[in-house]
Amino acid sequence: MPLVENGQIVQDRYTYVGDEEPIPERVPVIVPAQRFLAEADALIRRDGSLGVGWPNDRRIGELAPWLGHLALVALKFPKFRDGRAYSQARLLRETYRFRGTLRATGDVLRDQFHFLIRAGFDSFEVKKPADAHAFAEAANRYSVVYQPSADGRTPALRRRVTATATESADAIDTAKR
């Protein structure tokens, strides 16, 4: 399953460890939520980047005290149409100001990229290789957004009232032609 970061297919630096396995030193790991919460004090003192895999049916606020110690949070899309992790992602980015890597895992397909990026994800475990290759095109499909979100893009509502000569609605129209 290809991993996309910064628009490129990359090798995954992280190793997933299960509930029982020993945790290797000095390599980046992703630990399941339950285990992380049970062993958090020890895990955050460990040498090496630490990530946690968080389920989509558990309040993301529980993770808030630990976010400063986490390099990565992996959120889950068990099915394409199960969108709970979009809310978790925005809460992490916008309410809890998480600045580490936010990874989308599970049923991650091309037609979610636009939504995922806007919700604050910057790492994508893509299910189909063809979708991973189409990432850049799918990610740049919309030049207009209607709402503020975790990606910091300026929504149309604000662009309209702050339109300058270079960014007036007419200029957009001209650029399109």
């Binding site: 939504f115 063809a130 499909r141 207009v144 149309a156």
Partner: protein, 552 residues
């Protein structure tokens, strides 16, 4: 009329490109039908019994004549020469080919129309009072707020994959013509005793298998906070709404299970953390959207011009049409004319391409180029000079749109039912057709007065049967169509769910039962002007039950 600007047009154009790509991946087999389904649904494309169906949003029920002519063209070019207006200010085309859908959407986008979010588990088309902007009793035009919310929820990064669909309605009048309390969320603009304007926020309404009326969780939300509050409600629902059972996934179940108070508390906590952020509306933003609505340049006229009085005296049919179908306008000398899409023996809400084209011409001449679509599946011309009404009536008559039955027993709201819909258990349209034939005599209908019949072909309740004065629900029993009858429902400011009167009746008996109910009402009403719904409220359903089941 909201005029799309370059941002709106560009987003729509990009959406068409996106959908064209999705369709081509489906046609090439790169996408399975299961993978394609949520994508097509986000664009209003259903797979029905016979073909794909395209549902197009008519935001807040306002159509320009340019748009209406485009709908006529779509009907001719891609469908079978007609369209079907729904109960949620949408129009449906039932016979479109998948490969042609992107072209149809590109043509619609050129006139600022689309099928985005008319289906799927996202925020659906925002609906309002079909008389918004012209109703004498509104405190301001609710469409400005509906448009702000429409933009905010369009392709929303967080709320495009919710547990289920989410329907929002906005009203700004004392009289509720938008059926607010049957919506997942409703916003009613009003003023408190101190004169401050704000929104009463209601959540958790919905019909279907488990009908609930929405409950008020915020009596007066400041206008600047409307987007942040919508966001907080949706965020709460998206995280905590049930996803394990499609029948329990609507927000009404979450609100019911948690209790409205606990739900409101959850929303409040979320809202407090975001209300002063990027979603707080600045006056310039609201003014910008308001400024994109075009209003007619009305002439200075007086109410009750002599031409009108003369026409009423001279032609009884005109006089009856006027009293049944024409309503007061907020401007002196103007009126709102409702056009019934409920012909005897016809399909409620259907309109032919020829009618659309001719109506567009009439709207250009008599209504400042604007047409409205209401949840009752009728159309309206919202700005007609009273002195023009006689001429308009004659021309509407020539295209079959001057029927007098608005709000009468044959003005039936109905879903498409088993004739089209893959979810239906029973037929709806033939039931409606038979009832209109039974009550074809207009004097008999007028004697019965205001009486709303709503028909749904399955428990999903697209025909809103729970809130019909007489509600008819199709069910399937051992492979046969049966119908449950409810009485006393209504969807206005005193919204009530109807009460089941007894065992379901077979298909062939439904029209007889409606006739029995009508006859019982005539016997039971205490005076000729006591409305059917008021009689039901006063006497209860028992006398109706007795009449209906005595002979069965």
């Amino acid at each position: 009329m909201y005029i799309y600007d370059a941002f709106d047009r560009r987003l729509l154009a990009e959406r068409v490109v996106d959908f064209r790509d999705q369709v081509s991946r489906r046609l090439s087999g790169e996408l399975s039908e299961e993978e394609f389904k949520p994508l097509r649904l986000m664009n209003g494309v259903y797979l029905q019994l016979h073909a794909y169906m395209l549902r197009i949003a008519i935001p807040y029920g306002t159509l320009s004549t340019l748009q209406l002519r485009k709908l006529a063209e779509i009907a001719r070019k891609y469908d079978r020469g007609y369209g079907h207006f729904t109960t949620r200010q949408n129009i449906q085309f039932h016979w479109i080919k998948l490969a042609e859908l992107p072209d149809a959407m590109a043509e619609l986008a050129a006139v600022g129309m689309h099928g985005m979010q008319t289906s799927g588990n996202n925020v659906r088309n925002i609906t309002t009072d079909q008389w918004a902007g012209v109703a004498p009793d509104e405190i301001e035009d609710p469409r400005i707020w509906a448009e702000l919310i429409r933009q905010h929820v369009t392709l929303h990064p967080e709320f495009s994959f919710m547990p289920r669909k989410f329907k929002i309605a906005v009203g700004a009048s004392h009289h509720d013509r938008a059926a607010l309390r049957i919506h997942d969320m409703a916003l009613r603009l009003h003023r408190n005793a101190a004169g401050e304007a704000g929104f009463e926020v209601m959540v958790g309404g919905g019909l279907g298998r488990t009908p609930y009326l929405a409950q008020t969780i915020k009596p007066l939300l400041p206008k600047r906070d409307v987007l942040s509050y919508v966001e907080a409600v949706l965020r709460t629902y998206n995280q905590f709404g049930r996803r394990d059972n499609i029948w329990k996934a609507r927000i009404k179940i979450l609100v019911h299970d948690l209790g409205a108070e606990a739900f409101a508390k959850e929303v409040e906590a979320e809202w407090q953390s975001i209300r002063d952020g990027a979603l707080a509306l600045e006056p310039a933003m609201v003014a910008d959207i308001a400024g994109r609505f075009r209003y007619p340049n009305y002439a200075t006229l007086d109410d009750g011009p002599p031409e009108l009085a003369a026409a009423r005296r001279g032609d009884r049919a005109f006089d009856v049409w006027l009293s049944n179908c024409v309503t007061n306008h907020k401007m002196l000398g103007y009126a709102i004319a409702t056009l019934s899409l409920k012909p005897e023996g016809g399909t409620p809400g259907d309109c032919t391409a020829a009618q659309m084209d001719k109506l567009a011409d009439l709207a250009d001449r008599y209504s400042f180029g604007e047409v409205r679509v209401g949840h009752e599946q009728n159309l309206a011309l919202p700005h007609v000079a009273q002195r023009d009404l006689p001429a308009l009536w004659r021309e509407l008559g020539a295209i079959g749109l001057a029927r007098t039955n608005v709000n009468l027993v044959s003005d039936i709201i109905s879903c498409p039912g088993l004739d089209y819909c893959s979810l239906a258990n029973a037929r709806s349209i033939p039931i409606a057709q038979e009832i209109t034939r039974r009550f074809h005599d207009l004097d008999r209908q007028r004697n019965l007065g205001r009486l709303h019949i709503n028909i749904s072909g399955c428990i999903n309740a697209c025909g809103h049967h729970h809130v019909g004065h007489i509600g008819i629900l199709g069910v399937e029993k051992n492979g046969e169509e049966f119908y449950q009858i409810t009485l006393g429902g209504k969807a206005d400011e005193n919204a009530t769910l109807g009460t089941l009167i007894g065992p379901a009746v077979p298909y062939a008996q439904v029209a007889d039962v409606v006739e029995d109910i009508a006859a019982a009402y005539l016997d039971l009403r205490d005076k000729p002007n006591e409305l059917f719904i008021d009689t039901v409220k006063r006497v209860g359903i028992e006398p109706f039950r007795e009449r209906v089941y005595a002979a069965r």
